[in-house]
Chain length 413, copies 2
Amino acid sequence: MDIFQYHQINAPQRLLMGPGPINADPRVLRAMATQLIGQYDPYMTDYMNEVMALYRDLFKTKNYWTILINGTSRAGIESILISTIHPGDKVLVLVFGRFGHLLCEIARRCKAEVYTIVVPWGEIVIPDKVEDAIKKIKPKLLLTVHGDTSTTMLQPLQEIGDVCEQYNVLFYTDATASIGGNILETDKWKLDAVSAGMQKCLGGPSGTSPITLSSKIEKVIRKRSCVESGIRTQEHKDGCNEIIYSNYFDLSMIMDYWGPQRLNHHTEATTALYGSRECARIILQDGLNKNISRHKKHGRAMLAGIQAMGLEIFGNINYKMNNILGVVIPLSINGNQVRKIMLEDFSIEIGTSFGALDGKIWRIGTMGYNARKDCVMQTLCALDSVLNYLGYRTVQGASLQAAWDYYEKHNND
Amino acid sequence: MDIFQYHQINAPQRLLMGPGPINADPRVLRAMATQLIGQYDPYMTDYMNEVMALYRDLFKTKNYWTILINGTSRAGIESILISTIHPGDKVLVLVFGRFGHLLCEIARRCKAEVYTIVVPWGEIVIPDKVEDAIKKIKPKLLLTVHGDTSTTMLQPLQEIGDVCEQYNVLFYTDATASIGGNILETDKWKLDAVSAGMQKCLGGPSGTSPITLSSKIEKVIRKRSCVESGIRTQEHKDGCNEIIYSNYFDLSMIMDYWGPQRLNHHTEATTALYGSRECARIILQDGLNKNISRHKKHGRAMLAGIQAMGLEIFGNINYKMNNILGVVIPLSINGNQVRKIMLEDFSIEIGTSFGALDGKIWRIGTMGYNARKDCVMQTLCALDSVLNYLGYRTVQGASLQAAWDYYEKHNND
């Protein structure tokens, strides 16, 4: 190995219009370039407290335990599931895309007895079905993704929250793809736990998972509390009852680290915390509702432009997330070839999907820093050109005109 | 909450001379401010391959599976333990500080049958003892910390590696605190798995854990291979045998993501990867041996200066890590008061320790970006002043003179 062949990072300037990660807001990257401070520095613990407050507002909750997990989105999911599920617990999972399968899989690894309501990809789950299943199964937890990027669907949660409350079922959702770009009401929807990620509508880099926990689920988690033997003192109770399978994801220990006890667990990822704080600060200073409207506006403009190319939209459009669009790849077209030309000749990235949808749909995102008019127009323009180049004919100018028309009508949205 | 009271990150300029995190190399922070690219962008997968190559050189190994875990140091530990240990497996853990206890705890959570060799804090474990224990217990794995910051001790591993090979025991070490600042020879010492962290001698921020796996341990891990149902296709084998307790830390899935298959798992934390690549690149361009010598030189200069204040060193000095020093707090002195004045009046952070050593010793680091003469001199100067201010008398000028003398003698080290 010739080490001098390894140069500085020199990543190409991409426009990331796929399902995420998308381009990070440059203000977030600048915040992350800040020099480190110690993990118990009063400035650091103040920043941790500020992060808790900021994310309470993003999650629309009063939950005290609103904290960061040091890992990607699925680290947040796993921390909640492994800390809450006892082996043998019944959980009911709504599956309407890849990430519903992920919830099942993680729950199974926690040794839950997993029940599912599965609907075809492109649809959402009807709340009535959920009540029937809850009555029959009597689960301890109900797990669902909020917005599943694999299918672009956004599952309505309010009625399900009411049902969960009525039957005393703990209610969890994975809001990685939806938070910041779609309405999410943790307290109003009676959610007991929500986890998220940075790399979608929040405009940051992957690597941190904000979570929030209700006091009800906190009590369930605290029953398995345990202080590490290396830092345990006389004041702490001996040993550990029903120890959970993970140390890294043991939320009672992570709460003791974020809470007033400040009991050492991991070494908080300071740089990631700086970035997460800046993501939330930018959105909240702009206004959360305004941020959601921005996602809706640019998502709809993209939709109008895509439809004007004569392309078919995947899934039930009434339940589409604001920030992502599934586009059925025309039979005459090689989807990967389009993505390759978009990337190589225009430096624009769009996505495909997973499993059965791999190569069948493109996924085009308009989220976070890239929920902007210029990003929408550039993407439509390039895609229209590439399709025509490959022999798929569109009406000249129609796609961009549809977007312009949409913007003109919704100038004040 | 008044969101406009939340200002830009404006962390104070600290000199972090504790046990880590320490100040990140500014070149690393700049690399991390690079804009994102997609996770399957050819530039991204090239960077992932480069990271594998760079960390092979840092770990001194030819192991193909040399990759990053997206989480702090203990995420790397847990990924290896949870992917390797079957419930009921016997593991032998060497415990000579807090982080040995952590290994026991994580192993117990993996449902291992845990055996320990415990020595008093400040000592290391004699290899003869290890052979006796292995003969008696016949463990599947031997786990040990390499350098334990809680006590500053560096456990010699070469002879233990020979013993492990002889008795066919898998050999793991946590090199978080030692890597880059002390000799670590993965292949020569016959280590099957090593995990590390960024925030000590590598000069980066916490949040990423580089790991390396021998082909022998890979085989053990692969037996529990499993492809997520959401992305499983006809080509993959059905279902999962002996599924491990974690999805996030399932190394067979993480290998499939880093390997030529590029099977989606988490969304790689791009910013953290940029930083980890830059840490390794800087050290290797400078020369790994030179980097270790630098840690030795400045660590010894700090030691000379501290001893010249008449302070007692904690632990067996023959086995001290290059990058960290335990200093017994004089009985007449309140250790936390000293740390507070150091931080508030000089903006210099030094550490205390954990458990029984909390408030009994200070821990002073000279590592990563802060293994520098100016950092040593500033820290000695400030500590000497604070001690005298609080009534602990030193010989005027003796501490700094001792450091100067050391540097003069070892100018060319």
